[in-house]
């Protein structure tokens, strides 16, 4: 059979994000796959060296458009660690709730992408609609639909507006009310099982070796979650579980995403109940003259796709000396994807890619 070279992306309906995979195919089977990132490279880490500490806040969230909030969080954490700023108690709770809302939104986006890729328009449209309801909450809280710039060093920008708590509860209840519909049409659909079961299977050993985190790792049975391993914000204040599955294939990964969404919603309810009163913001020094003492820090948090890390070096100036993001899509998209696509069929390229939750701007930065 003839060997063909097939470009999957960057202009492709099945491609979420500006990313490209070069496939060598024989018939329907893939002989070799090569991930080809860089379409979204803006040199963020270089640009941040040219901007002051506070100017970088609008920058960082634009690294990842699907879930900008965890990016804000990680940058705030790093700045707080380097500058030694304390965060008020209530701000920690607000941050946690905010990040969990972002996780729900991001997972719904992932569900849209995945269902759309399988040709499952109906569920995809529902998921996108529900994500929009979450975005409405963000809009009320922060004023922005996509980019929020809400988490700030020393807390968050402003407290919940009056009546926001009830709105969160109502919205999440209305989304939660549709979970049986989602289950009936998508998650328990026999065809979804047929399409996803055994596709893109990795063992726990392989996942560890290739540096996987997040769903990719949790779908192989390891409940590794930074929120548990190194709790930040208010994640150690309430009780919650890390959902896992054993098989390590696309089916388990998507199920883990579903379970995580539900767990996040429960966590938001619990956090809202025990949230203390108080200030949400500690003043930082004058941002125009703000210098952060010499030092380096590595901080990490759990974004919706896995471990998000930030290595930051300050040389005592008003600008960071070097920043480097460890993004979860990086090993997923550049190592695991290439390995899993070998010997897969063309019909499963998008299936594997989106179940690994590869977000292209995170890889390129």
């Amino acid at each position: 059979m003839r060997e063909l070279e097939l470009y999957f992306g960057p202009q492709h309906l099945g491609m979420v994000g500006n990313f490209s995979i070069t496939l060598k195919v024989e018939g329907d089977r893939i002989l070799e796959a090569q991930a080809n990132p860089g379409y979204l490279h803006r040199g963020f880490e270089k640009l941040m060296e040219y901007r002051t500490w506070i100017q970088n806040f609008p920058m960082v969230c634009r690294i990842n458009v699907v879930e900008p909030d965890s990016m804000e969080m990680i940058y705030a954490m790093a700045v707080e660690k380097l500058a030694g700023i304390e965060v008020p108690e209530r701000a920690n709770y607000v941050r946690s709730i905010y990040l969990e809302l972002a996780r729900v939104g991001s997972h719904l986006f992932g569900l849209w992408a995945y269902a759309n890729m399988l040709g499952f328009d109906t569920v995809a449209q529902w998921a996108m609609y529900h994500r929009d309801l979450v975005l409405d909450l963000f809009e009320e809280l922060t004023g922005g639909r996509v980019y929020h710039i809400y988490i700030w060093p020393g807390g968050v920008r402003r407290d919940f507006p009056p009546g926001f708590k009830e709105k969160v509860v109502n919205t999440l209840h209305s989304i939660g009310g549709c979970v049986p519909d989602y289950d009936a049409t998508f998650f328990n659909n026999r065809l979804f099982y047929e399409r996803a079961n055994g596709i893109g299977k990795i063992t726990q050993e392989q996942a560890k070796q290739w540096g996987a985190t997040g769903q990719t790792l949790r779908a192989t049975g390891m409940p590794y979650d930074i929120r548990k391993a190194e709790p930040y914000a208010a994640y150690d204040k309430v009780d919650w579980d890390v959902p896992t599955r054993e098989d390590g294939d696309a089916y388990s990964r998507v199920w883990v995403i579903r379970d995580e969404m539900i767990e996040s919603v429960h966590m938001i309810f619990k956090l809202l109940d025990v949230m203390p009163e108080g200030s949400v913001y500690n003043r930082v020094p004058n941002p125009f003259k703000w210098k952060i003492p010499k030092g380096e820090a590595y901080v990490r948090c759990e974004s919706s796709r896995g471990e998000l890390g930030l290595y930051m070096v300050s040389n005592g100036d008003d600008k960071p000396y070097r920043v480097h993001f460890r993004t979860p899509s990086y090993p997923n998209g550049l190592i695991i994807l290439e390995k899993l696509l070998k010997n897969a069929s063309i019909a499963d390229v998008g299936n594997i890619m989106i179940s690994l939750y590869v977000v292209a701007p995170e890889i390129d930065r």
Binding site: P37, L47, Q209, G211, Y330
Partner: protein
């Protein structure tokens, strides 16, 4: 645990400095030749997750600094232990002239794209790396763009601002 690890490290390797600036962090500074051995040792000691491989350009000291950040996965899949809260930053310096380093893919396979990226953005050559092909960039740059002496604002001014607008005559 931190201190026992520190003692073990200092007993095994000679020219390294180990410091524990805070509870969850160990910083190791080592010569570039002994880095693979230290990485192997730390991997066997349970730090089996290379979270990040980064480089810093210390232009005033005329050297690059490579940082390996290691954390650990859970061992027996049930409990989060103190080990997961710990991360190790292993630092080594290499000269800025003709920067060379031995690849660590043999120890941590997930270092491959990181090394590719650092090769592209800093111009550090990794010996033994199977494909040091361009990863992110499309144009060729005389100075790798992430080095401190590459001025992106000047570059933009010279290249993009000099491209003229397409004149459109009124009809």
């Amino acid at each position: 645990m931190n201190n026992s690890l520190r003692q073990k490290l200092e007993a095994t390797f000679k020219d390294i400095q180990v410091s524990i600036p805070e509870d969850s962090k160990i910083t190791i500074t080592a010569e570039s030749d002994s880095v693979p051995a230290i990485l192997r040792f730390l991997k066997d000691a349970g730090f089996d997750h290379l979270a990040l491989l980064s480089a810093v350009d210390w232009i005033e000291d005329d050297c690059f600094e490579l940082c390996f950040i290691l954390t650990s996965y859970m061992q027996n899949d049930d409990e989060v232990t103190g080990r997961q809260r710990l991360h190790i930053i292993l630092k080594t310096r290499i000269p800025r002239e003709k920067p060379q380093f031995k690849t660590v893919i043999g120890i941590f396979p997930n270092a491959e794209p990181y090394e590719r990226e650092i090769h592209e953005l800093f111009g550090i050559n990794f010996e033994g790396h199977p494909r040091l092909t361009p990863l992110l960039l499309e144009r060729e740059y005389e100075i790798p763009p992430f080095r401190k002496d590459f001025d992106t604002r000047k570059y933009v001014k010279d290249l993009f601002d000099n491209i003229p607008f397409v004149e459109i005559e009124e009809k």
